[in-house]
Structures are given as C-alpha cells and as structure tokens.
Amino acid sequence: MEEAKMVTKSLFMSYSRNAPPALKDVTMDIRANSVTAFIGPSGCGKSTFLRCLNRMNDFVRDARITGRVLLDGMDIYSPEVDVTNLRRRVGMVFQRPNPFPFSIRENVAYGPKLLGARDESVIDEIVENSLRSAGLWEEARDRLNDMATSLSGGQQQRLCIARAIAVEPEVLLMDEPTSALDPIATARVEELVRELKRDYTVAIVTHNMQQAARVSDTTAFFLMGELVEYGPTDVIFTTPTDQRTEDYITGRFG
C-alpha cells in the first residue's frame, strides 16, 4: 500500500524524571491514507503516544522524550521545527467534544483565521466544505450563527472534526472520539472516519475493539507503554502472534 506518513523510532516518553516511562521503545509506521487504530487497556499509553505525534506533550513541564518521530521524513522534535505549523499539519480531535463557546461558524473559522484568512467569502467556503466533510452541513447550514454548545454531543464532536479539517491537516489524530457519544452518534463518527481516510491519514485511539475492527486498516496493541503488536487489522483480530494480544482481544483482560 502507501508509504509511511509518520514514523516513530524507539520512542520513550516519561512524564517526569522519576516516573516510570509511559512509552517504552515504540517503533511503528502510520501509513498515509489509512486508518490506524491504537487499542489497549486504560492507562497503557495510547493517549500519550498520540500526543507525542503532534507535540501536545510539550505542555507537560517535566516530560522527557527520546527517540524520533518523523512526519514525511522530517523529525518533528528537531529544534528548527515550527510547532504551530506542525500542529496545523497534524490535527487533533479530543475525547470529549470541546467546541469553543462561539458560533458554529466561528468554531470552524478559528483555524483558517489563525492562518490569515480574512475574506468572508473564502471563510464561508471553508466553513461549508469542512462541515460537509464532517457530515454536519445539512444539520448546521441553517444555524451557522447559533452557539456551538447548542448542538448535541455527537454534532459537537463532528463540529470538532470539521474545525480540525478546516486547516487542511495531513494527519488527523483522534483520541477516543466517540467515548462520550451515544451509539447512533458513534456510528456516524465511525462512518466519517472511514470516509476521511480518502483525504487524510487517520490515527484513532479507541478502547472499543469492535470499533477498531470496524474502522481501521492497521491496528496497534499497546500494553503498559509497550507496543505489543502491530499489523493489518484483520490479522490482529483473527490471528495475533502475541499471546497478550490474543488475551486482550478475546476479552481475558482489559
């Protein structure tokens, strides 16, 4: 298939000097235009790993990271990298929908405006396209000036996806994007994720194995900060090579 969009090489990460590493020697590829799922029990480092990919862990003061993370071959932790530009290229959707308390339009327009979009008609177009891609246009087109907080939880999460898409990222990181949503809203987001891989590279954390099986092409199984197994989703879910993976996906722990 496609080549790797992002690569990590023996990535170690700990939250403070004395804390045990939250990630241990993680080496993996995230292939372009595919959906990569990260599964594993709670606290195994999935979110930590995801946040290493767009340097959101920079805000943890004592965090220590070693190893390399490459985006199109460029080391994102090298000193000359512009972090804000990196985060624009590697967008993120969070566990709980976190729209700004602005209007729907202003939420989507926030990123483009940071990038210097001023022309209202250009912004309108970006807003429409992003909302369309996030499957929210039909529901939101008549209420673009309503507060984002007046949307339902599922709609809010799709708005957050639209907001992330609006700056045309190359990679979209999603941290359990459906964990706060009901089953119907979850199904819509999953459908969306499958569509998004046409234009974006998607990495999604989920604690729901069925979800990983439904949406992803590649699955990575983490356990206590280690990447235990990593491969095509159908292989991981049918014939895993590691005993621990098998135990997890058959529900023996988790």
Binding site: M56, T84, N85, G91, M92, F94, R96, N98, F100, Y110
Partner: protein
C-alpha cells in the same frame, strides 16, 4: 440520589420521631436564613424609601430639567441654583477615565496571572492584588494629595495637581484589584480543553490567550469590569481628596472636578436638615443608588445568559 438518602434515614429508627426531628432540623435553619435574607431586603427597601423621601422635595424648588441640565451648582447663593450637570459630568468623567485605565490593564494582568504565571507565582500575584485591594481609600487619597499632585503640578505645569487625571488614576488603582482578581477567577476557570483545542489547531500561546481564553471568559470579565465601574462611581474619599472639587464641566484631564459623591460628603455636614440644599444632596444620593442598582442588574443579566442566543 436524594431519595435514596431519605429512605436510609427514615428506616433507621422510629419513624415519627425521626421525621419530626428532621422536620424541625429543616424548618428552624430555613426560618433563620429566610428572616436574615429578608432583613437585608427590608433594610434596602428602607434605605431606598428614605433616600427618595428626603430627595424628592427638591423637585418642589426647581425642575428636573434644571437639575439635570443646569450648569450652575450654587446651592447656598441667593437665589440658589441646583444645576447638577457639572457634578454628574464630574462623576462620569472620573469613572470613565479610571475605567479606561483600569479595565484593560486589569484584564491583561488577569490574563498574565492565569495563563502565563507559573502556579506558585500565581498565588503570590493574587495575594498581592488582594492586599492592594485592602488599601484604605483615604491612604490612596493621601498619596494622591501629597505625592502625585505636586509632581503633576510641576511636570505638567498645571495650576493644581488636584484634578480629574489625578483622581482617575487613584480610582484606577482602587478598582484594579477588583477587576483583576474577578477576571482572573473566570479566566482560570476556562477549561484546559479550550486551550488544547486552540493549540491543536496551530494556535500560538498569545493567540490562544487573546482569541480563545479571553473570549471564553468574556462574561465573567464583563461582570468584573462592571463591578469595578460600580466601585468607581460610588467611591468618595479619593475624589474628595484628589479631584480638586470645582463644580465645572471638565473639558480637559487637567481640570478639577467635583463628582456627586464628594459633593455629598463635603456639603452634607454644613447644610441645615430639611433645607432645599439638604434635599438636593439626597437627590444625588438617589441618583448614585439608582446607577449602582442599574449596574447590578446588568451584572445579573450577564450571569443569566445575556450573551447567548
């Protein structure tokens, strides 16, 4: 949840006794709280009534338009003149100027404390601000008279350093702690998720602070600003000491002014009870009270979701 709690309590022992105890245990504190709360309202109603009763008779002496638009405040001349426009303008001028100085500075300071300071320094900054807030206004007025006024007089070559600028500056210092600490409370309460969302879109720290955090906290900040304005309108001692006390409509920042509050404070002691001058001063009191009530209502309206659709 509450229901479950009730069941546990009532099944614990002899039903009637327990219930009775619970009932009294609820009614007595409730009664106390209600009467205390009502006493506040009664007191307020009494004050308003008293002010209106003592203030209204001035309208028998002169007309409302003369009061509101008259430019001459000569209450003890013969014939007297009760034009309050210079006093109202004085109050408005110092309030406006002090707000222009204190609100932006206070908000930026709050933003600095909530989003730039490390946690330890944050505590220190807040405590320092609170201490500044404890400063008796008479001390501030004293500084204005003894330190700022002479300097201003020399450096700017003015007739007097006791003027609108001096008083507004002091008022600004006085209301700064209110504005900054209250704004900081609401800025600090903005969820981290909002900041994360902005950073994840490539927002810089500055952009995140000014375009997201500030906007998220805008209601709390508006409330803080209004409360600051309210203090500024009602503050008496500082303006009495440093504003210069001339009942003229100020045209420049170096003009001395005589706000409503300092007029009342300066003249109430020298006027015979029941005289038109006395009633005029009470009328000013009413004016101040209604301004404060209006500002209060504004704050409450913001709280109950004025900005939202």
């Amino acid at each position: 949840m509450e229901r479950a709690g009730e069941i546990v309590i009532t099944t614990g022992g002899p039903r009637g006794a327990r219930r009775g105890a619970r009932k009294w245990g609820e009614i007595v504190p409730k009664g106390v709280v209600t009467s205390v709360a009502l006493s506040g309202i009664w007191l307020m109603a009494f004050i308003i009534f008293f002010l209106i009763k003592e203030g209204a008779p001035i309208l028998k002496e002169t007309s409302l338009t003369e009061i509101a638009l008259g430019q001459l405040w000569y209450p003890v001349s013969n014939p007297p003149s009760y034009g309050m426009l210079p006093l109202i303008a004085g109050s408005a001028a110092v309030t406006l100027l002090s707000s222009i100085m204190a609100i932006p500075f206070g908000v930026v300071l709050a933003l600095f404390i909530s989003d730039v300071c490390p946690e330890r320094a944050r505590e220190f900054c807040k405590v320092s601000l609170e201490i500044l807030g404890f400063l008796p206004s008479v001390v501030l007025g004293f500084i204005g008279m003894a330190v700022i006024a002479p300097h201003m007089q020399m450096k700017l070559e003015l007739l007097s350093g006791l003027n609108m600028l001096n008083a507004s500056f002091l008022l600004g210092i006085l209301i700064l702690p209110t504005i900054a600490t209250l704004s900081e409370d609401s800025l600090y309460a903005v969820p981290q998720a909002m900041r994360d969302a902005s950073y994840a879109l490539g927002g810089t720290r500055c952009e995140t602070m000014f375009k997201v955090v500030l906007k998220c906290a805008s209601r709390g900040i508006a409330q803080a600003a209004i409360l600051g304005v309210m203090r500024s309108v009602g503050e008496t001692m500082v303006v009495l000491m440093a504003a210069g006390g001339a009942a003229i409509i100020p045209l420049a920042m170096s003009d001395p002014v005589r706000p409503l509050t300092s007029t009342i404070a300066a003249e109430m002691g020298e006027t015979p009870v029941g005289s038109p001058h006395y009633h005029a001063l009470f009328f000013m009191g009413c004016l101040l009270l209604f301004i404060t009530i209006a500002l209060n209502i504004l704050v409450l309206r913001i709280e109950s979701g004025g900005g939202e659709k």
